[in-house]
């Protein structure tokens, strides 16, 4: 049995979105079963199945390495404060 990650997309400009996973004996049956599991009520118009073993996984320790760099976050507060000061001194 293979595990596939399932992606759906509505017609138009929406992007493909991950909706879940499915177990199937092969890709052909994967598509058949995914249709019943995830598109029973017209939830999407296009379907992608990606074999989970084909997914490139970023090592978590490497991905989380940037959690301790608050200076890279921009919530807009610093800019708003700077603009407020500029207005007041203008």
């Amino acid at each position: 049995m293979r595990t596939f990650e399932v992606f759906l997309k509505k017609a138009g400009k929406d992007e493909f979105r991950h909706v879940g996973a499915i177990d199937a004996a092969d890709a052909e049956l994967g598509v058949t079963l995914a249709r019943e599991a995830y598109v029973r009520r017209g939830e999407g118009d296009d379907l992608w199945l990606v074999d989970r073993t084909h997914i490139v996984v970023g090592p978590p320790a490497f991905v989380r390495g940037n959690h301790d760099k608050p200076h890279r976050h921009n919530d807009g507060a610093a800019i708003a404060e700077r603009r407020r000061q500029q207005r007041e001194t203008a």
Binding site: M1, L29, T32, L33, A34, E36
Partner: protein
């Protein structure tokens, strides 16, 4: 309910009862198929078949619940193949495959029916049925090319074929339905096409079968399968609590 000749009525009743029984039999697998994904797909197919039965029953009666569930056994026109319980998953799957290929031919023979409502329905049903066949064909292909599953599926085929041929046991009034243009082909002609389709698919998978000779045990679908009474009781379990209840 629409006006139908006795011959048209009996012919459509046979298909309606087959769809009802096969849908109800498939539905007994809810929650117990080998894996979740298959559970969803198989029970979805069950739901489709029950939907087709409902559409046909609505042409035959104004009180579908009573008609579908509370008739005397002798008044049903389903075939044994649709009525029989299949405790083994392999049998349920092989039956699904054999039945859906037969069903395609039966609905196609109604696509230009003189009963306009039936012709419209036949075209609608075909869309759903193509999914059923895809599902069954893919599973059969996969299992018959797997060393472990192949002998199990072949054993199921040999068990089921003797009653599967009874799908094409015609109702007594079939000639009348053909003459009236209700259905385009005789059951005997459809059976020939079905055997060709099934044999060809099996040959590509290296399986040869000897077609069993049909019997007249069903007596033009007027006699029920030995297990029908128990299954019928199960189907009526809820409605029997209060047959007069309005839903």
């Amino acid at each position: 309910m629409i006006d139908l000749s006795p011959a048209a009525r009996e012919h459509l009743l046979a298909l309606a009862d087959d769809e009802h029984m096969i849908g109800a039999q498939h539905a007994t697998w809810i929650g117990v198929t080998p894996f979740l994904e298959e559970d969803l797909a198989f029970c979805s197919i069950a739901q489709d078949e029950l939907g087709h039965a409902l559409e046909l029953y609505q042409l035959l009666t104004d009180d579908v619940d009573r008609f579908a569930l509370l008739r005397d056994a002798a008044d049903y026109r389903s075939c044994w193949f649709a009525e029989r319980s299949t405790p083994e998953w392999s049998d349920a799957l092989v039956r699904h495959w054999l039945y859906d290929h037969a069903e395609r031919l039966r609905w196609q023979a109604l696509a230009h029916s003189s009963v306009a409502e039936v012709a419209v329905l036949a075209r609608l049903v075909d869309r759903e049925e193509s999914f059923h066949r895809q599902h069954a064909d893919q599973l059969m292909r996969r299992l018959l090319t797997s060393g472990e599953a192949r002998p199990i599926v072949i054993a199921a085929l040999h068990r089921l074929l003797p009653i599967a041929v009874g799908i094409f046991d015609p109702v007594a009034s079939e000639r009348g339905a053909i003459d009236e243009g209700v259905v385009a082909s005789s059951s005997a002609d459809l059976a020939m096409s079905w055997r060709t389709t099934i044999s060809q698919q099996l040959e590509t998978l290296g399986v040869t079968i000897d077609w069993p000779v049909g019997t007249d045990e069903q007596r033009h679908r007027t006699v029920r399968d030995p297990g029908f009474a128990a299954f019928h009781d199960e189907l009526r379990e809820v409605i029997s609590l209060d047959p007069g209840a309005v839903w």
